[in-house]
Amino acid sequence: MNGLLALLLTLVAVVGTLAVAVREPVRQTIAVGILGLLLSMLFFALQAPDVALSEIVVGSLAIPLMLLLAIAKIREQQKPAEGEPGDAHPGEAEK
């Protein structure tokens, strides 16, 4: 095992732990994205460019994007509930 692999494996371990340790969803999403990027670099260093190509897009773009959209959606729904509970027309409250 050479130095590059050792470095990448360590980074993957550190960022993977960070992704679990961070509790704020948006920051967690960013950590997962960085983890995807590091994993794809690791796959590339291990001579698996086919897997690296998939991982770089899925891990650092697709998963964070879907998570971010889902988080945005959840926050949007929580907003009116916190402001005026029992509002019959939550869509109107925003305007």
Partner: protein, 247 residues
């Protein structure tokens, strides 16, 4: 109660760690590969099919049946997502202008870079798919990169364009279904042309793009399927932004 839980957790962790240590102790050293199948494929795939990417030769030729199963898993998963998200449609709507206004809040440079990268990414997709049997890449990678291009359209602040395209025509579904069906048809082609399901029935060629028999066709079919499937998921997710507070 907490004590009982902790005891269960400790037992579980100890068992898991023990199992992992036991399993890892018998492994070969890092980088020493001993399985026979991989060595045979690495030795024979390139001369056998005239295609230089033995990973893709394995996935789309020797193990094409597995790939068919994976493709249908993706197909069903995407249909599931579409059905799940569509139930909310028409319940409560947000103004499209409002969403467009949100899109324009991104900085000018982000929007320019996002839009400028769409074209090159589409070209890269075509390259990756068509050269899948020669260089690293293939149908799945190409389809995923195409989804990246779609995401950049949204980053560029034009997610509504995507939605209009998606609503006025059914090209995404068409692409997904045509890709899935096309790959299955290649299997039947093998049945008719060579006597076995997914037997390679097209001449291998000698060098260049037209090698590997039906592998380039399989790559294109899978590229269409994966690209269409992921674009469908992404546009469904963006579509959700139009449903303000769906309760």
């Amino acid at each position: 109660m907490t004590r009982g839980r902790r005891a269960v957790a400790i037992v579980g962790v100890v068992l898991l760690a023990g199992g992992l240590a036991w399993g890892a102790s018998g492994l070969y050293d890092f980088g020493h590969y001993h399985a026979l199948y991989g060595k045979i494929v690495a030795r024979d795939a390139v001369p056998d099919r005239s295609a230089t990417n033995s990973v893709v030769v394995t996935a789309f030729d020797y193990r094409a049946f597995d790939t068919l199963g994976e493709e249908f898993i993706l197909f069903v998963a995407v249909v599931g997502v579409a059905v799940l998200l569509r139930r909310l449609r028409g319940e409560s709507g947000r103004d499209e202008d409002e969403v467009a206004e949100e899109d324009r809040r991104a900085s000018e440079s982000t929007r320019w870079i996002g839009m400028a990268l769409v074209g090159p990414l589409v070209v890269l997709t075509a390259y990756i798919v068509v050269h899948g049997h020669l260089t690293p890449g293939g149908g799945f990678q190409g389809g995923v990169i195409l989804m990246g291009a779609v995401a950049f359209v949204a980053v560029g602040g034009e997610s509504l364009v995507l939605l209009h395209l998606r609503r006025t025509s059914s090209w995404v579904e068409m692409s997904e279904s045509a890709g899935a069906a096309g790959f299955a048809m290649l299997g039947f082609g093998g049945l008719i042309g060579a006597g076995a399901f997914f037997q390679n029935f097209i001449a291998n060629g000698t060098s260049g793009l037209l090698t590997g028999g039906f592998i380039p066709l399989a790559n294109i079919a899978v590229g269409l399927e994966v690209g269409g499937a992921l674009m469908m998921v992404i546009s469904e997710f963006f579509d959700q932004r139009l449903h303000g507070q769906a309760t």
